[in-house]
């Protein structure tokens, strides 16, 4: 496909998605209600947020080659900082967002500066440790700020009326869709900019980049902070969607889920990561329904117990993808279309 065709297709897709709340289409099997029902819109909006989040993770993992196990921490910052500012300090929404923006720049700059002193797997371990510290902090509920295990609910009075209530789900849906488009655009510009090219060079051969005379550490830190900042922004959209914060987003399992999303979609391609995030969230949601379906419940315990656990199904799917389809869904699609093109070439 040529570039104009691709852009036109992308534009058409965005238009259809944006018009979704106004259309009464039902897709039986895929979604429970019509596409315009609040439940479906909420699920789709969550899919968009996770698509964007997976994209931010792909920026450092897929484009710089940094295997971070602490990305959940930055998402959680974007979830908890505004929630605390709104619910506990009773700040206005703009003030809370301004505070979040500052925190979301300062924290990754400091933590990234420490973590990036080591490489590869030690880097993964250290980022994991910092994320764990964040998780402990949230669960300990210092000064009754985070709400501990119960999380923090944002009452209807602290948010603008247009973002609260079942009737306004469509506004949140549009917000999530717009957010995904903005993050995609930023990521697209970033990876095609001169620093973006250097990120990819670092991924391919770090030593060579430093021999050329470039400060690898600084480029890595830049990518780390950008990715973390965008992840925090995704956290803000998430907290608006959910109407509150829950400690699940700080857990180590959540970071691992992020990794699953990116690998599921295809490492190192922007749209692959988005696809992975969307697919993961959708599967995670639908597999709970699948677990309660009559077919699964009637199976003997040996099959029923594992199949009732969404994480088991996703974990196994992940292993199979890593072992047999290293490119993920995106890679598989690409190979499929490449095979078709070469097939056409030989037949003509």
């Amino acid at each position: 496909m040529t570039r104009p065709v691709r852009l036109a297709l992308l534009g058409a897709l965005v238009l259809v998605l944006a018009a979704m709340p106004a259309l009464g289409i039902t897709i039986p099997g895929l979604f429970d209600g019509p596409l315009s029902s609040p439940g479906t819109l909420n699920l789709l909006a969550l899919c968009f947020v996770f698509g964007a989040l997976a994209l931010t993770y792909d920026l450092i993992f897929g484009y710089v080659g940094l295997l971070s196990f602490g990305h959940a921490l930055y998402f959680a910052l974007g979830v908890y900082v505004p929630a605390i500012a709104l619910a506990r300090f009773h700040w206005s929404l703009p003030a809370a967002l301004a505070l979040t923006a500052v925190v979301a720049l300062v924290v990754p700059a400091i933590l990234g500066a420490v973590c990036l002193r080591v490489r590869d797997i030690p880097f993964a371990m250290v980022t994991l440790a910092f994320a764990q510290a964040g998780s402990i902090l949230v669960l300990q509920n210092p000064f009754d700020l985070t709400g501990g295990e119960e999380g923090l609910a944002l009452g209807g009075d602290v948010l603008p009326a247009a973002l609260v209530g079942v009737a306004n789900t469509r506004n949140l849906y549009w917000l999530a869709l717009a957010f995904l488009i903005v993050v995609y655009a930023i990521a697209y510009v970033a990876v095609n900019s001169p620093p973006g090219r250097i990120w990819q060079a670092i991924r391919e051969n770090e030593k060579r980049v430093s021999v050329i005379g470039l400060d690898v550490y600084r480029f890595k830190l830049g990518a780390f902070v950008l990715s973390a900042f965008l992840a925090s922004a995704a956290g803000v959209v998430y907290v608006l969607l959910q109407g509150g914060a829950n400690p699940g987003v700080t857990s180590a399992n959540f970071t691992l889920a992020l990794l699953v999303m990116v690998v599921l979609g295809g490492v190192g391609t922007l749209w692959g990561a988005v696809l992975g995030g969307v697919a993961y969230e959708y599967l995670d949601f639908r597999l709970v329904g699948f677990a309660n379906a009559g077919v699964v419940q009637s199976l003997p315990a040996f099959f029923r117990i594992p199949l009732s656990e969404p994480l088991f199904v996703l974990g196994v799917l992940f292993i199979v993808l890593v072992m047999f389809f290293p490119g993920g869904l995106g890679g598989a699609l690409q190979r499929f279309s490449a095979a078709r093109i070469s097939g056409k070439a030989t037949s003509s």
Binding site: M125, Q132, L137, L139, P142, N253, P306, E309, F312, M323
Partner: protein, 293 residues
Amino acid sequence: MSTLVLLLVTGLGLGALYFLIASGLSLIWGLMRVLNFAHGAFVTVAAYVAWSAARALPGDSAWGHWLVSLVVGVLVGGAFAALTEIVLIRPLYARPIGQVLVTVGLALATVAVVQGAYGTDPLQVALPDALTKTTPILGALIPNSRLVVIVAAAAVLVALLFFLKRTRYGLIVRAGVDNREMVTGLGIDVQTAFTLVFVIGGMAAGLAGALTATYDGSIDPGRGTSMLIFAFIVVVIGGLGSVTGSAVAAVLVAEVQQFLNFYGASGTGDFAVVLLLAGVLLVRPGGLGGAAP
């Protein structure tokens, strides 16, 4: 004084558990450059199978059941690890990141199955009476379970060092940690050593699983994963690939955690351990026992 002794010994007990998990992780990393996220799953699965085996046994000899649970834990840990290495790790030797990723998938899937089969709530473990009692040491009443865990970990440390320093396979493992290409170049089969190291690490993790039940008096599906994170910290502080480093770092991390959790607000110790890790990395990126990377 008695509080101090109690905290010291309890910390040592926790450090013993960390060491059992971290030593395997460290060796696996040192030799194979694989970060094994499934190590926590080895701990959890071994703990649950050991618990089930002890319950299914006839008779009412509490000590017999306890010993069987330890043996079962070790065997299950070793078998699970061997299977993981052969089925999942071996086909991916050429793709280091892929190896890490499959262990992540395995960890997620395994813990999910354990949760599905046994529920998310902790299960109480029946222990021999003697293990629930205390022994006075220097005026402090030390729970016997702590002492047992410490003795077991010390025995594993001695056995591991003997294996590494005094046996032919230990020599190959040490040489492999030092320079894998050279060992391969000398015509030595490193593949067998890979599987061997995985089995040893899995057995130690399995023992840790069975002993966690003794230490906590209960088992729960998330315990292995939460300990794994501290074991990672221990491995990095101790220096990747160094068993002695792991032992020293395990005790250091556990004592810091124990003392600060007691004297500070709860959770302070866990937090301080992460700061300790950051500090060590800033001063010595290679950890206490390892060379600079």
